[in-house]
Point group: C2
Chain length 287, copies 2
């Protein structure tokens, strides 16, 4: 039997970060320190944890982390003003607005206000459109992580049938778009999909992006498929049954230690890339 | 046997235009005449024909048609300047840049320069992203036409499996996005797709958007499917074999007289909608 590949996100994330170290050093020589501004609104404890993890990951690598914490009573207008201020600030290269914001805020409007050059988390509709049309700089980070893992392990999507389960703006839709751009045939499934097991039976690539623990059953997986699990549910459980999918799969991401760690490294990569781009503009403006 | 439905685009287009007449009259009472600017670059004869058809359709309905014809030697910079001028011109509500432009011009850059409020042809990546995220005003016109036909004939996509053959930025991608937003399970196929006939065998809805005459065979169609043919090839031949698909289909668009006529009416609809929106801005600015 062919050896199964466990797609190790910790290894991929380390590889990405190692490459970034040189780029960050180069930037610092030129007087630029990459900076990610994170905005947290309110007191949701898991959001606080996520933002802290992201900030810490920045600092560990030498990226500045500007952490903005706004009260839960912040209005949409106040949030938009803060985003406008960060858009204008040349020392800030990336802006991340932690999802979800309190219910009274127009989250979509806030996301859309982020300047495309600083949308390192890939939340704007413009960024999504550019990604889908094949010229976006910053696809959202989890889809980017999935592609990064495939690239690291030399898994070519061309001509394969990819089935994406989920259609959120930051995961199911952009990962479908990225796989389509890699010349996969792409089926996007969701809560209205009939016969999901039969559809998954045909999938050479399965992306689990549904947000429900163990939702994808091992029985549904085709022998030899690539299973990419972007789920992270309570108790470190993925969206796909790990052991049962492992039996069938040719390659699979574990949870934890699969897509998750690479997602954060994509945020760092995009921030560095944004800083490099800002430098290019500076150089060409000075000429 | 259940009666087959021939999806008559001429009827649908007439219905759309009839509704627009009142809206145009209302606008005129308020001092606004909707205006579509069309830009043709160079002397391609079929492009000239298309632009003329669009302009004539505008005028027939009482929409102003500002026809700009630039020489084939126009540079990207000159084209961008013209677009910027039209973006600024408050009497122009919609801008259509006829595809294709001469090869030396950066067509994508020119499309992207069209202001989102005037992108009635749905060519910008921002417009596409907004459409995919469910809040776009102007999806590109052929995908919008396909949905308009489905609505007119009360064909509900929810829970159905739609297979789109083609992935262009103005057709395959946006129609996939629109059908996904209507809660269809959507598979997007293209030249790298393996086993297209087997995939189509599962399709409740087939969208032919491939640009090759009679490419989709009747044999590939599932009994009772809805076949929407967006192709228009030389000799008025669609992308799907009409007679053979008709035998299998529950509902089908003919070529000609199917998607084509509705596409132009969508351009008119979007132009009227853009004019109405400009009026709203005017009213709220005056308050």
């Amino acid at each position: 039997m062919e050896k199964k590949i466990i797609l190790d996100g910790i290894v991929v994330a380390k590889h990405v970060k190692d490459q970034l170290k040189n780029r960050i050093a180069d930037l610092k020589e030129k007087g630029i320190v990459p900076c990610l501004a994170t905005i947290l609104v309110g007191d949701d404890s898991s959001s606080e944890t996520y933002v802290r993890m992201k900030g810490n990951a920045c600092e560990k690598l030498g990226i500045l982390s500007e952490r903005i914490h706004l009260s839960k009573d912040t209005t949409t207008k106040e949030l938009l003003e803060k985003i406008a201020e960060l858009n204008e600030d040349p020392s800030v290269h990336g802006i991340l607005l932690q999802h979800p914001v309190p219910g009274h805020i127009d989250e979509r409007k806030a996301f859309e206000a982020i300047a495309i050059e600083k949308d390192v988390d890939g939340v704007t509709s413009l960024g999504y459109g550019q990604t889908a049309f094949g010229f976006g700089d910053f696809p959202s980070c989890t889809p980017a992580a999935i592609l990064e893992i495939m690239d690291y392990y030399k898994l070519n999507a061309e001509g394969l049938h990819a089935v994406v389960v989920g259609r959120s703006p930051i995961l199911g839709k952009p990962v479908s778009a990225l796989l389509l751009n890699r010349n996969a045939t792409v089926t996007t499934c969701h809560s209205y999909t009939q016969n999901l097991p039969q559809i998954l039976q045909q999938a050479d690539i399965v992306v689990a992006a549904v947000g429900k623990p163990n939702f994808i059953k091992g029985d549904w997986i085709k022998e030899g498929a690539i299973v990419l699990d972007a789920g992270y549910n309570k108790g470190n459980i993925g969206d796909a049954e790990y052991d049962n999918c492992l039996e069938k799969a040719f390659a699979i991401t574990p949870v934890p230690g699969g897509v998750g760690p690479v997602t954060i490294s994509m945020l760092l990569k995009h921030t560095v890339q944004a800083a490099e781009k800002s430098l290019k503009f500076k150089v060409s403006a000075a000429k």
